[in-house]
Subunit: 211 residues, 2 copies
């Protein structure tokens, strides 16, 4: 199994038994999410920005405006890209042992700009197709101005780790008879009915929401 | 209306019409979320950590182990606390105009430690009650060891801003007749059936999941 040795930054220190460093685990968590939070240092201050991301092979990609402060900052320094998925509330008999089941990935590194035109188009296509399979070929094709205005960044999954909690609450043995409901409350993201744009012409089938 | 003047860090620059700086908007977004992403600078590198948060008055609170690196880092420097809620996918006729409807808050500042015992207990109660109203009084009460082991941090909502997108896709006028479905795909978080812990004794009613 491919394994990234943890660095002092990615080694899971709190609850180390929840840490994982193998790429299949890291890739699966990334593929289950859509939004990451990227930390930059701007003028010595941390700034955290939510962006959509997608993964291809061992790279995470995101996009921004070529004019944005976030893109400029990302290209001049290391960033931290974090994905967290909240799966279940975990309710215990004491406040202290309440927890949550979750999956998260943290990746540090210096992003690269995807500036080759064909690689950029392939990455854009990867973003759309990951969310809405089959949509890319049916869209009005990108113009040269749009391709120029879009910056695509990539980050290699090298200094990366996962952290996962599963299972029931773990209470202190002396609390087991405390009279209260204990267990897990699972959370799911579901899609509501699609809302067609008021200016849509004709009748078209809406795509399925991303899984 | 209470208004925080934007700083150079919280002023919304990309799509400035989506920016909001009034406290009612900022509070409402924070009250709709449960997980924030906090950016610290550790040894000059940005590190982004997902944590649960809650708001009381004009302060955001979170907790950690008093032994954790994240807590130590937060108390020695400024942090950036970001909350993002993804509401709808927004599908347009071109890849370039695809978007999302979302609500987000960014707050920078130096956190404070809540170290007065009564204030700490009040904050812990606020966290539990915000998620599961009525549960705090029914839990096994916190021990002194647990109170000591829990660090509660607070961040004042002073240098804070919100960013919100709503509404349908906005396509280029010349694309309006492109033959494809366009509109919004709403997302909802829903709760699955509660799963009682295998060691629960007796029969108890599960709480409702947080709204």
């Amino acid at each position: 199994m491919q394994q990234n040795p943890p660095s002092q930054f990615t080694r899971v220190r709190r609850a180390p038994q929840r840490g994982a460093y193998d790429l299949p685990t890291i890739h699966a968590i990334l593929d289950a999410g859509t939004v990451c939070h990227i930390g930059h240092v701007i003028d010595g201050r941390p700034v955290v920005t939510p962006v959509f991301y997608w993964r291809q092979e061992n790279q995470v990609y995101w996009h921004g405006s070529t004019a944005s402060r976030m893109v400029r900052a990302a290209l001049s320094q290391e960033v931290c890209l974090t994905v967290s998925l909240l799966d279940e509330w975990v309710l215990a008999r004491s406040a202290f042992h309440h927890s949550a089941n979750y999956r998260s990935v943290v990746c540090l590194g210096r992003p690269a700009l995807v500036d080759d035109r064909e690689a950029k188009l392939a990455a854009m296509k990867g973003f759309v197709e990951r969310l809405f399979p089959g949509r890319w070929e049916r869209l009005r094709p990108p113009t040269e101005r749009e391709i120029k205005a879009t910056a695509i960044l990539s980050l290699a999954l090298i200094e990366a780790s996962a952290k996962v909690r599963t299972g029931p609450p773990v209470d202190d043995p002396e609390d087991l008879s405390w009279p209260i409901w204990v267990g897990r409350l699972p959370l799911h993201t579901t899609a509501g009915p699609p809302i067609a744009a008021p200016d849509m012409l004709g009748s078209h089938e809406p795509p399925a929401p991303p899984a």
